[in-house]
Every structure is written in C-alpha cells, then in structure tokens.
C-alpha cells in the first residue's frame, strides 16, 4: 500500500513541478531562451503574496491575485530590458544574462526579507492540511488534488489558446519561423512579450503552490529551476503536454526514490534526468508541438 501511496504522492508532487516547469517550457518553445532566473521569479511571486498576507491578513489566494499584476509588470520589464536584447545577441547571452539576474533577485530578496524561511500554509486555510484518508497508508491531500486539477486546467487552457485562437496561432507561427511571421504581419516583439507574461504568471502560480505546500526562502529559486528544467527535459523540450508528463515522471521518481531511502528522493530525480539525457543524447524537438 505504501507503494501505491508513493505513486499518488508522486503524481501530486509532479503536478506541482509541472506548473513550475510550464513557464520555462513556454519561454523555450517560443523564444528558445532558458531563463535561469525562472525559479527565482517563482519565489519572488511567493514573496509578493507573502507581503500582501502580512500587511492585510488576506488569504493566500487573494494575495496571489493582488501580486499577479505586479508580476506581470515585472515580466514585461524583464522582457524589454534583458530578454529582447539577449535574443539578438549570441547563443550564450541569454544564459549568462539570466544567470546574473538570478543572483540579483536572490540577493535582493535576502536583503529585503532576511534568510528566514517563510510559508503561506497558514494563510491558505483548510487546503493546507485537509486530506482524505482512504486507508491508514493511503491518503489524498486536498492540496495535492487542487494542484493536480490546476495543472491540468492550466495546460489545457494553454493548449486551447495555442490551437484555437489567433493569438495562439501567431505565437506558434513566431515560434516556428519568426522571420516569416513578421513577413505576414505578426509583431514578433509583442508575441514574445505575451509569452513572457504568461510564463511569469504561471511561474508565480508555481511559487504560490511552493509557499503553501512547504517553505521558501530567498535562495529557494535555483532548486525550483532545476526541478522545472528536469521536468521540461524529461518530457521533451518544446512539447507542452510533455512538460506535464515530465513533471509527473520527476515527481514519481522522487517519491519512489524516497521509498528506498528518504534522503534518496532528490537524487533519484537527478538520476532520471541524467538517464533521459543519456538516452536522448541532447535531442528534443525544437517546435512548440501541440498535440492534435
């Protein structure tokens, strides 16, 4: 039974990783940029929500809604200052510039908030602790189910956006051939800005989930980035649904690894990631695939 429980927990954990990874996947699919500050942006979102909760006593969800516009604005600034320039420069530039940004965000948070760990669990109401005990060894946490549901909704909504709307087609067109897209009248700059906005918003959502299900501190970012990146790679770079599956695979690897030995959890995830890379030899389709 504990094995079954580990699987269930793995799926819940994986859904969380998938939400974290979603924005990273979008940015890569549309702009070919891996944003090394992605995890820190998620943590920044968590801190913004935390600030709102501290000052107004609102619930975590209301705080998130308030933090979202700020995150979108920051995402826009990120796009026009760093990402746009990186796109035009060499292949190395986006990695280097976003790495520098990551250091800046972490340390600014450290200055503003001190190294203490925080959590939004208390502000999230019943969701944090409620769970349905099926048996003594198997339980479905409310939070886990909500995150899973949200993950499916988010990915589904993105899927619909990309396959059914003009803006979505424009985004896929720009991802597949930015030059030709410009030639048919698509403003690639605003497509990129839109992609960044979506990525940042979903990253913030990931940060919210991180803050509710566990604790966070200013330097939590890099850990989330690694998990997000592993999820994207395991699922296949550039594939949206792949990222969801990759996240779940990573979550399963970690919880099943923990079954073997508790300290083995994260290591198991890393090993899965490396194994996938070895098997694939750095491959992965470059187009933003939409399952049809």
């Amino acid at each position: 039974m504990t094995l079954l429980n580990a699987i269930v927990q793995g799926i819940f954990l994986g859904a969380f990783y998938a939400v974290l990874a979603c924005g990273l996947s979008i940015m890569f699919g549309v702009m070919r940029i891996i944003n090394l500050a992605h995890g820190d942006i998620a943590v920044l979102g968590a801190y913004l929500a935390f600030v709102v909760v501290e000052h107004t006593g609102a619930s975590a969800y209301v705080a998130f809604a308030a933090a979202l516009p700020v995150m979108l604005a920051l995402g826009y600034i990120l796009q026009i200052t760093i990402l746009e320039r990186s796109l035009k420069a060499g292949l190395l530039t986006p990695l280097l510039a976003t790495f520098g940004l990551s250091i800046v965000i972490q340390n600014l948070l450290l200055i503003a908030f001190s190294p203490d760990v925080r959590s939004l669990g208390p502000a999230a109401g019943a969701l944090t602790s409620a769970s349905w005990h099926v048996t003594s060894e198997l339980s479905f946490s409310a939070l886990g189910m909500v995150v899973l549901a949200v993950a499916v909704v988010v990915f589904g909504a993105l899927q619909l956006f990309l396959s059914r709307t003009r803006a979505g087609w424009a985004m896929r067109a720009t991802a597949e051939d930015a030059d030709a897209a410009e030639l048919v009248g698509i403003d690639s700059r605003s497509v990129y800005a839109r992609a960044t906005a979506i990525a940042v918003a979903i990253a913030a959502l990931g940060g919210l989930f991180l803050a509710i299900r566990s604790v966070f501190d200013p330097i939590s970012g890099p850990t989330q980035l690694i998990f997000a990146f592993e999820a994207v790679v395991i699922g296949g770079m550039g594939s949206l649904w792949g990222t969801l599956l990759g996240g779940i695979a990573l979550g399963l690897a970690q919880t099943l690894g923990a079954e073997i030995q508790p300290q083995f959890a994260v290591l198991a995830g890393h090993l899965l990631f490396l194994a996938v890379l070895i098997a694939r030899f750095g491959g992965g389709r470059l187009s933003l695939r939409v399952a049809r």
């Binding site: 891996i34 990695l95 280097l96 790495f99 520098g100 800046v104 300290q263 890379l277 030899f281 750095g282």
Partner: protein, 333 residues
Amino acid sequence: MRVERWTRTSKVFTGGSAVVAFALASVPLIFDSDVVQKLTNLLILVILATMWNALAGYGGLVSVGQQAFIGIGAYGTVYLAGMGVSPYVAMLLAMVLAGVLSVPISLFALRLRAAQFAIGMWVIAEVASLLVRLDKNLGAGTGISLIQMNQFEPNFRQAYTFWMALGFTVLFLTALFFLLRSPLGASLQAIRDDEDAARSLGVRVASRKRLLFVLAGFGCGAAGVLVVANTLFIEPGSVFSVQWSAYMIFMVLVGGLGTFEGPILGAILLFAIQTTFTQGGPWYLVGLGATAALFALVLPRGLWGVIEGRLGLHLLPVGYRVVGSKQKAELGA
C-alpha cells in the same frame, strides 16, 4: 609580407610574466600568513577564471556546474589523506582524479546542446554534492576538516599551499597558452567563430571540445584542492555551491570572454572587490550579478576585449599578425 607571432610588446610582457612568477614565489618569505592565504585565494580565482574561459570563450561551452570538479578535488583530497596518503601528495592525486573523472562525464555531457549542457553540468554537481552528503565518512552534510594538515606548522603550511597554488596557476596558464599557440589553437579559434564551418573544413570539433573540457576538469579540480588546503574545512553546501559558477561567470564576462589575459584581469578585479567588501554580503552579490548580466548584454567582449580593441594591445602572443602589407590586419586571439 610576413606572418608574425611575437611583437615587442608581447615579448616584453611574456618575459615580464616569467619575472612576476618568480617574484610571486618569494611572497611567503616576505609576507605574513594572513596575506599569503589571501593571495592563495587570488590564485584560485585566476585558475577558475582561466578554466571557465577555456570552456566558454574558446569552446563555446557555458557550464554552470564546474563546481562539481572543485568539489571532487576538495573531497578527493580529504578522502585520500584519510586513507593515509601524505596531504600534499593526496592533493596532487585528487587533482588528477578530478581530471580523470571528467573524461567519462565528457562522453555524455558534450553531446548536450547549450542550455542542456549548462544545467546538465549543474545537476551533475548537485548529484556529487548529494552523494557526499550520504557518506558519513566524508562528514555528510556538516562538513569535514583536513586534519592531516596539522602535522605542519601553520606558516610552513601556508607557504607550501601558496607554492602549490602558484605551481598550479603557472601550469594551467602555460598549458592553455601552448594549446592556443599550437595548430590546435587555430582550430579552437575556428570553432569559436563558426562551428559548422570549422567542422566542414575537417576540424575535429568534438575532440577539441573534449580536450578543453578535460583541461577544465583538471583545473577546477586543482582549484578545489587548493580550497581545502587553504581553508582546511569544507562542506558540501559551500564547495559544491553554484556560487562558484557565479564567480567564474563574473570574472570572465567582466575580464573578457575569449581573450587570454581577460580572465586574469577579471580574477584580480573580483579579488579586489571581495577584499574591499568583506562586510558586503548580499549587496555585493547583487552588484556582481548585475554587472555580469550587464556585461553579457552590453559589453560582451569584456574589459580586456575593449582594451585590446582600442589599443591594439596583445600582451601574450596567442594570435597571428600579418605584417608588411598595406593594411596591417590583426588576426586571432
């Protein structure tokens, strides 16, 4: 019309470098051990910057995981010393271990493209860190001391460590220098300028990159060895920290990516900043990160690249010059 390698400036400077190296050797005899320890740190930074530049500037490989080899060098030393090997011999062996381990890692890592390589190396460093944490004999998560060094009197210990650091620095700088001057070096330039074009000309891109990767494995391993020799206590959180990559990126981007002298300049700069801002903490890291990002976006050639461009100054003869034609064309480095 001739093709020249040496200019008067570069002859003077290379000669000067040799003099500087000899002069540095006398440091432990003149200064007290506090200063010697600090200067050892400087040499560690020089090695790291040079190695990261070898990877990224000459091989186009951006790694955010070289701390893996730093950690292997450090923990390798502790492990071997623990097995009874004399400390300084253990250090040499640990460096070799790091270099040797980089070979199988390269077989897999070098097949990865840009971002996957960068983060893939980071994950490898994390795996190494986690494996160390699981090992009680290596101090697990709380760290371990190189107690075998207690057999040496502190001043002597610091001196030996400094000379070892100097030796490593000269070794790796010289190795890279000769690498760049050799036909290998020209092919490395070609790879840096246009990998596909180089491949189509028959340049064995993969083996060139592997050479750089393994060199960096040795070099970063040496740095790790020096870290434990210099501070005597290591823990996985610090020695496998991605902070090292942050330092390397800063030094090379600010100093000058793809130039020989740039990383050295960057290391000196970082050392100066670290010594001035010892209380800085997060603020100084904000500055580092912002500066690195700024240089990446705005000044990709780094400070040395600008100096080189403006003054036409090449201090070390790693490139070629065409002399005697109507237009003096400067090529290389």
